[in-house]
């Protein structure tokens, strides 16, 4: 097949699907949100009943509708203005239409930001899939975006979820408390052990300096050494000994009443022989000739059956992944199928009727 043919076939198919989706009355690829107002007040919360005598009230921010404020358990701090903002929660199209049909003034609306996002996601999905036809500029754009975004993603994650809580917090609890982690207890003190990873990290970054690159080998030596120590224990314990002990099975199996179970007995024999022959295959200091050769060849067969069945099982999971992606394209984006009722045309019709009745009146 010439590359052009496959490209034409795929593009024609896609255009056809788009056309069908476009023609449907409820359209395609729209995202809705509900607007939620949030408001908080600073309050003084009395110690609970039964608390020790020397406990004092705590001051904390509560949602404006917290029942403790109504109960009198908590009192708003005088002179502090409430703080609030607006949030947007995503809702399905059906939900949006149903809400509008009940109350046309409800705070539910089409979201430009999320609709653009949905279309961009669909474009990127198709761009990656286009690699199946061969390397092409659209794929290269998607690839470039993915590399840039993901490198920054992991760096951001590393900063906020590791550097701040595991390095900056123990070193300067007061400052971090003021800045980003107000939940740190006020009496937290500096933990000097956190200097160790800091020093190792600086040594690692020495790499960026023009001289003394060898300094970076120290932290890496530390990582490799500790890894070796940890893995020596965990693998010997959990894998070597545990797997051996799980394989000690009798070759003669009887039911509770003493009748022999031939099938299971043969099975156990196969199990033990298979295990030993694969282990023999892994012997390095003996040439695979003669008896050892025969046994290890049997071991290879066992390995192949293991690999074959694992292959079969994994295929299932991989196909589910592709089905999920097609589900995204056909259901979330094109609205061609609707197995879960997320964009029900009937709901739209109801909503439209209510809205038009209102505008007519």
């Amino acid at each position: 097949m010439r590359p052009r043919t496959s490209l034409v076939v795929m593009l024609a198919g896609l255009a056809g699907l788009l056309l069908v989706a476009w023609m449907r009355p409820h359209g395609m690829g729209k995202a809705y949100v509900r607007t939620v107002e949030k408001s908080f007040v600073e309050a003084e919360i009395a110690p609970p009943i039964g608390a020790d005598a020397d406990e004092t009230p705590t001051i904390a921010w509560l949602a404006a509708d917290d029942p403790r404020l109504a109960d009198g358990e908590a009192k708003a701090v005088a002179g502090r203005a409430p703080v609030g903002w607006t949030e947007h929660e995503p809702v399905t199209a059906t939900e949006a239409w149903e809400t509008l049909a009940k109350d046309p003034t409800a705070p539910v609306a089409l979201s430009g930001r999320d609709t653009i996002g949905l279309w961009f996601a669909a474009f990127l999905t198709l761009a990656i899939l286009s690699f199946l036809l061969g390397d092409n500029p659209i794929y290269k754009v998607a690839e470039s975006i993915l590399i840039g975004v993901s490198a920054a993603y992991w760096m951001t994650l590393g900063f906020w979820s590791t550097i701040v809580p595991n390095l900056l917090k123990p070193l300067a609890p007061g400052a971090v408390r003021e800045w980003a982690l107000p939940s740190i207890p006020a009496d937290a003190t500096t933990e000097w052990t956190a200097l160790i990873p800091l020093v190792l990290g600086v040594m690692l970054l020495w790499r960026l300096a023009p001289r003394g690159g060898w300094i970076a080998t120290w932290p890496i030596a530390f990582i490799v050494g500790t890894t070796a120590g940890l893995k020596l224990i965990s693998f010997t314990q959990a894998d070597l000994l545990a797997q051996l002990s799980a394989s000690v099975v009798p070759l003669w199996v009887t039911a509770a009443d003493g009748t022999p179970r031939i099938g299971e007995s043969i099975g156990n024999l196969v199990l033990v022989v298979s295990l030993i022959s694969v282990l023999v295959y892994f012997l390095f200091s003996v040439e695979h000739r003669g008896i050892v050769g025969g046994v290890s060849r049997f071991g290879v067969w066992v390995l192949m059956i293991t690999f074959g069945s694992a292959f079969g099982f994994t295929v299932m999971g991989r196909i589910t992944l592709l089905a999920e992606r097609f589900g995204f394209l056909f259901d979330d984006w094109l609205w061609l199928v609707d197995p879960n009722g997320n964009h029900d045309p009937a709901a739209l019709a109801n909503a439209a009727a209510v809205v038009s009745a209102l505008s007519g009146a």
């Binding site: 080998t217 530390f222 059956i305």
Partner: protein
């Protein structure tokens, strides 16, 4: 100096952890070490970013082929990093509404969350889904009955593929009671329990031994990947 100190660091730190395992008082050491590693890995991101920036900038400034893609990568990287580090578009957490830096940068309404939802996850999920296509092409190309080993591999795959869909019912569902064990799905089970299990067990045991021996070599200073290469030729 340059060679012996790293070897000493690797051996000592590993040995200490092995010994600490046997004393409850030092149980937390291994957790601390894992924690330090995470910090180190996070600091190493700076090193990675440096390398990434350098490569892209060189491509752009030399106008080498495909420099426009390098520019896209660079722009995507810088944009995502900025909105992530500065938590653009986040709202503070409910408990601390006056602390602007407590916001959840992964929430859908944060710009970073938008990038995750509509850029990162469709891109990675689609890369993952491509596997279904490659699995098909591997089936056509690689599963050739060249020898007994290959025949066993492909028959096992064949059995599982058939046995795990409605096809099993069509083919062998009508087998009478005495032939129960020969039904496709039961055959697959038998194969997995008595051949698949010891096969994977032996692999696991072998790997455990390999890991143990490699760890020992590291602790003894015989294997020194941190110094550039394995044993004597490094």
């Amino acid at each position: 100096m340059k060679r012996s100190i790293p070897i000493l660091i690797a051996s000592l730190s590993g040995m200490v952890l092995v010994l600490a395992f046997f004393s409850p008082r030092t149980e937390s050491w291994s957790e601390a070490v894992v924690d330090w590693f995470n910090v180190l890995a996070a600091i190493a991101f700076i090193l990675g970013a440096g390398s990434l920036l350098k490569v892209q900038l060189v491509k752009i400034s030399s106008r080498s082929p495909g420099w426009a893609y390098a520019a896209i990568t660079l722009a995507a990287f810088l944009f995502t990093l900025l909105v992530g580090l500065f938590k653009v578009g986040t709202v503070p957490s409910d408990k601390f509404p006056t602390h602007v830096w407590t916001g959840d940068y992964e929430a859908p309404q944060a710009t970073f969350g938008w990038i995750y939802l509509y850029v990162m996850s469709p891109l990675t999920a689609t890369m993952f889904a491509m596997l279904a296509f490659y699995v098909a092409s591997a089936a056509f190309r690689a599963f050739r009955a060249k020898n007994l080993a290959a025949i066993l591999l492909l028959s096992a795959a064949f059995l599982v593929l058939l046995g795990r869909t409605a096809a099993a019912g069509f083919l062998t569902g009508w087998f009478p009671e005495p032939l129960e064990a020969l039904k496709l799905d039961n055959l697959v089970d038998t194969m997995l329990v008595y051949v698949g299990t010891p096969g994977s067990r032996a692999i696991v045991i072998g790997i455990a031994l390999g890991v143990a021996a490699t760890s020992l070599r590291v602790l003894l200073g015989l294997e020194r990947p941190y110094l550039g290469g394995g044993g004597g030729n490094g």
